[in-house]
C-alpha cells in the first residue's frame, strides 16, 4: 500500500493503470466518481466530448476480445481521442517480433496511451518500464483486469449505493481468473466482505492472505450475499483435470435459481462475460430481473472513459461539459 491520506484524490499518481494493486482507495473512488459524469455523456444525443482531442490511444490486443476492446474503443471515441486497434494476428508479432520491439516501434510514433491485453502475467509492468506512454492494462494473463473490477464496483455501487460492508460472493474458475484478482483487491480496499468459491482444484494456493474468505461450499459463500459474481469456466479446463465434466461442474457449482435463494432477497447477479449458459450459470439466473450483467457492459464504457480521461486528459481538465 502506498502512503494514503483521507483527502479525496484529484488525480492518479502514476502514468499507468497496471492493476488495482497499485491504486489507493482514494484513486479508486476518484475513478468511480469520474465515471458517473462519463456515464451521463453516454445518455446524450451527441455522445462525444472533446476531452482527449489530439491524444493518440493505441489498443494493442494480443488475445481475442470483443467486449473489452469494443468498450475501450467506444470510450476513446466518446472522448474524441484518435484511437486505433492492433490485433496480434495482423501485426509483426506473427513474424517473430518481440513485445519489447513492438512496443518501442509504437512508442516511436508518440502515442499518449497504450491499452494492452496480453496472455502473459506482468506484461503490462514490463511495457511500463520501456515506454513513456501510459499503459492501461486490459487484462494480463492470470494477473489483473483492473478496468473490469472498476466497472464491477461501479455497477455494485449503482445498485447498492455502497460497497463497504457488503458481502460479495465470487464463484467459478478462481485459479485462472484475472477478473478475480482485480476484484478481490478492489473490494477489499473498499471494505467489502469477499467470499470466493470453487472446487479446490481451481483455488489458487495462498490466496486467502489477500483477505478473501475461501470456500468450496456454495451455501457458505452465498449465505447473506449482496452480490453474486460468476466467473467464466473455460471449456478446456476439463482436459487439465480440474473437474470431471461440464455437466458435473453445473451439478456441483452451477448457479441455479434455487442456489440464488441462499443469498439475500435483493441480491444482484453479475458476470464479466462471456457466459457459458448451463455451465457456470443457468439461463434463468442470467436473464432474471436481478441480473445486472448488461449493466456491467454499459458501465464498462463509462469507467474506461474515466480511466482514459484521468490518465491522458486530466492535466487540462478541459472538461466534459
Amino acid at each position: 500500500m502506498h502512503g494514503e491520506s483521507d483527502a479525496p484524490a484529484t488525480r492518479l499518481r502514476g502514468k499507468d493503470l497496471l492493476g488495482i494493486a497499485e491504486l489507493s482507495r482514494e484513486e479508486i473512488l476518484l475513478i468511480l466518481d469520474t465515471a458517473v459524469a462519463m456515464k451521463e455523456v453516454g445518455t446524450r444525443p451527441i455522445k462525444k466530448v472533446p476531452a482527449l482531442r489530439g491524444k493518440t490511444v493505441i489498443n494493442l490486443f494480443f488475445e481475442p476480445s470483443t467486449r473489452t476492446r469494443t468498450s475501450f474503443e467506444i470510450a476513446e471515441k466518446r472522448l474524441s481521442a484518435d484511437s486505433l486497434n492492433i490485433a496480434a494476428t495482423t501485426s509483426s508479432v506473427v513474424k517473430g517480433e518481440t513485445l519489447a520491439d513492438t512496443a518501442m516501434n509504437l512508442e516511436a510514433m508518440a502515442p499518449d496511451l497504450l491499452v494492452m491485453r496480453h496472455s502473459s502475467s506482468g506484461s503490462c509492468h514490463f511495457l511500463s518500464r520501456i515506454c513513456r506512454a501510459g499503459i492501461i492494462n486490459a487484462g494480463d494473463g492470470m494477473h489483473e483486469h483492473p478496468t473490469q473490477a472498476l466497472l464491477d464496483a461501479f455497477t455494485i455501487r449503482e445498485h447498492k449505493g455502497r460497497i463497504e460492508g457488503l458481502k460479495i460472493a465470487i464463484l467459478g474458475d478462481l485459479l485462472h481468473s484475472r477478473v478475480l484478482r482485480s476484484n478481490v483487491l478492489l473490494l477489499a480496499k473498499l471494505g467489502a466482505e469477499v467470499w470466493i468459491c470453487g472446487p479446490p482444484t481451481l483455488i489458487p494456493i495462498g490466496f486467502e492472505r489477500l483477505g478473501a474468505h475461501v470456500t468450496s461450499s456454495i451455501a457458505r459463500a452465498l449465505d447473506g450475499a449482496d452480490a453474486i459474481m460468476m466467473l467464466r469456466i473455460q471449456l478446456e479446463r476439463m482436459q487439465g483435470g480440474f473437474f470431471p465434466s461440464l455437466r458435473e461442474y453445473f451439478t456441483v457449482f452451477g448457479m441455479t435459481p434455487e442456489r440464488v435463494r441462499l443469498a439475500r432477497p435483493d441480491v444482484i447477479i453479475m458476470h464479466p462475460g462471456p457466459m457459458n449458459r448451463g455451465v457456470e450459470i443457468a439461463s434463468e439466473v442470467a436473464d432474471a430481473p436481478n441480473s445486472v450483467i448488461l449493466d456491467q457492459v454499459a458501465n464498462g464504457v463509462a469507467v474506461r472513459m474515466a480511466v482514459l480521461y484521468l490518465l491522458a486528459g486530466g492535466a487540462e481538465h478541459d472538461a466534459i461539459a
Binding site: T98, S120, G122, H125, R181, F207, L210
Partner: protein
C-alpha cells in the same frame, strides 16, 4: 617456481587448521604448511592483513554453454568468471548443444578447457542419451573421457526405472548421479513457486511438492538399489527433511544449495522489481520458511555443498515477458560475496564451514583433487577478503551474461585472488594488497 605465502590466516578443515600459517608452493603443489617456514630460495609473498587463504573453491554446478550456445557463454568467459568469483574449478553440466552424452563431446569440452580455460573444468556427462530419459548414455565411456558425474540437469530423470538403472550403473564407476529433482507433471508449465506470491501475480505455480516427491523417490531408490545420488540445487524444506532423514538411515545421498535460494525468497517478485525475469530460475525462489530451512541446513551439516547453478543467458533472451523468459541467473561472480555477507557475517556459519561447503565436500562428492592444502596437493587456493566492501556491478562481469538480480547490491566480503596450480588466475584490483599474489 617456488613461492612462500607468509603470515596469512590459513583455513584448511581437512587438516584441522585455522590460524596464522605460511604456505610453501613448489612446482604448482603445496610443499609445506606451517608456522615460520624457512624462506630458502622461495619468492616471499607477505600476505596482507585480513586476507584468508583457503583450499580452492569448487563450483560443482555451472553451465558453460559451450558447445552450441556461445552467445550466452563460452568455456573461456565462464571460467574467467569463475576465477573472478574465487573458484579454482568448476563442474559443467551437460545440457549443451549437442548434449554431453558421449565421449567426443566430453573430449571437446576438455580440449577447449585446456586451450582457453582459466580454471579447472570437470565435465559432467548426461545420464541418458540426449537427456531424454529413455536410454542410458555411454556412462563408462564418459567416465573414461573425464566426466566426474552424470546428470540430466535442466530435467529430472523422470522415470523411476531409469533412475534405478542409472544409480546402479554409474555406481559401478563410482560416479554420483546428480538429479534435478522435479516431478514433471506437478511442475507443469509453472514459472514461479506456488504460493501466495504466484497467486497474487497470476503466475503459474511450481509446488514445493514437485521437488519433495522427487527427492523422496531418489533417496528411496538409492537406499534400495545402491549407488550415490546428489540432489542438485535443493530448494525446499521438505526436500531437506528427506535428505536429512535419509542420511540418518545411512543412504548415500548428498545435496547442494544455491546462493540465491539462501538469500532471496519469492516475495522479491513483488514490489519494485515485480516480474523481473532475473528473478526467474528453476527451482524457483521459495518461501521464507524454505530459505530459513536451507540456511539452517548449512549450519547443521545436512547441506553438503554450495553451488551456483550459474546459468548465463543473453540479455535479449531475458528482455521478454516473464513466462517467456528462460530460467536461470548468472551466479559465479556474486556467490562468494553473498555467502560471506549474508551467512558468515550474519553469524550462521564460520569461514571454516564455508570452506567445507565450497571446497572439501565438492571435491569429495565429485572425487576430484582439491579440498585441502595438505602437502602434495595441487596449489589451488582461494584467497578471501572477508571485509572487502563489494558493489555488484554486472557490467564488469567476466561472464558474457548480465542476468543477475543482485546488481547494485553492496556486500561485505569478496575474493582477493584465485590461484590455480600455483599461478594467480585472478587478482582483485580492489582488494588492498592483493597485487602481491600476482604471478607472471
Amino acid at each position: 617456481m617456488t613461492r612462500l605465502l607468509k603470515g596469512g590466516r590459513v583455513i584448511d578443515p581437512a587438516q584441522g587448521l585455522d590460524g596464522a600459517c605460511d604456505v610453501l608452493i613448489e612446482n604448482g603443489r603445496i610443499a609445506a604448511v606451517g608456522r615460520g617456514l624457512a624462506t630458502g630460495t622461495a619468492a616471499v609473498v607477505e600476505v596482507p592483513h585480513g586476507l584468508v587463504i583457503c583450499p580452492g573453491f569448487i563450483d560443482m554446478h555451472v553451465h558453460l554453454r559451450e558447445p552450441g550456445q556461445e552467445h550466452k557463454e563460452t568455456i573461456e568467459t565462464g571460467t574467467a568468471a569463475a576465477a573472478a568469483g574465487g573458484f579454482t574449478a568448476v563442474a559443467c553440466m551437460p545440457n549443451t548443444a549437442p548434449i554431453n552424452d558421449n565421449a567426443s563431446v566430453t573430449r571437446f569440452i576438455r580440449d577447449r578447457a585446456a586451450e582457453s580455460g582459466v580454471v579447472r573444468v570437470y565435465p559432467i556427462g548426461a545420464v541418458t542419451k540426449g537427456s531424454k530419459g529413455e536410454q542410458l548414455a555411454e556412462i563408462g565411456e564418459l567416465n573414461q573421457a573425464g566426466c566426474v558425474a552424470v546428470s540430466d540437469d535442466g530435467r529430472p530423470v523422470a522415470s523411476a526405472m531409469m533412475m534405478r538403472r542409472a544409480l546402479e550403473y554409474a555406481g559401478m564407476f563410482g560416479m554420483p548421479v546428480i538429479d534435478h529433482c522435479e516431478e514433471p507433471t506437478l511442475k507443469g508449465e509453472g514459472v514461479a513457486h506456488e504460493g501466495h506470491v504466484a497467486a497474487v501475480l497470476g503466475l503459474r505455480g511450481i509446488p514445493a511438492a514437485a521437488e519433495d516427491v522427487m527427492v523422496e523417490r531418489d533417496v528411496v531408490l538409492a537406499e534400495a538399489f545402491g549407488g550415490r545420488v546428489h540432489i542438485a540445487h535443493l530448494s525446499t524444506r521438505g526436500a531437506l527433511r528427506a535428505v536429512r532423514a535419509a542420511k540418518a538411515r545411512g543412504v548415500r545421498v548428498t545435496c547442494e544449495v544455491t546462493p540465491h535460494h539462501l538469500v532471496l525468497c519469492d516475495d522479491a517478485l513483488m514490489g519494485p522489481k515485480s516480474y523481473d525475469t532475473n528473478l526467474k530460475m528453476n527451482p524457483p525462489l521459495r518461501e521464507a520458511a524454505d530459505r530459513d530451512a536451507l540456511v539452517g541446513g548449512l549450519a547443521d551439516g545436512s547441506v553438503d555443498a554450495i553451488a551456483t547453478d550459474h546459468a548465463p543467458h543473453h540479455a535479449d533472451e531475458k528482455h521478454v515477458e516473464f513466462d517467456r523468459a528462460p530460467f536461470g541467473i548468472a551466479g559465479l561472480e556474486t556467490a562468494v560475496s553473498l555467502l560471506v555477507d549474508r551467512v558468515v557475517h550474519a553469524g550462521v556459519i564460520t569461514l571454516a564451514r564455508l570452506v567445507e561447503l565450497w571446497s572439501v565436500n565438492p571435491a569429495r562428492i565429485l572425487q576430484v583433487p582439491g579440498g585441502t592444502l595438505a602437502v602434495g596437493a595441487q596449489a589451488d587456493l582461494t584467497i578471501l577478503a572477508p571485509d572487502l566492501a563489494v558493489t555488484v556491478t554486472p557490467d564488469r562481469f567476466r561472464s558474457k551474461a548480465r542476468n543477475t538480480p543482485f546488481g547494485g547490491w553492496t556486500l561485505r566480503g569478496g575474493v582477493a585472488a584465485t590461484i590455480v596450480g600455483g599461478r594467480a588466475v585472478y587478482v582483485n584490483p580492489e582488494a588492498p594488497g592483493a597485487g602481491a599474489f600476482a604471478t607472471e
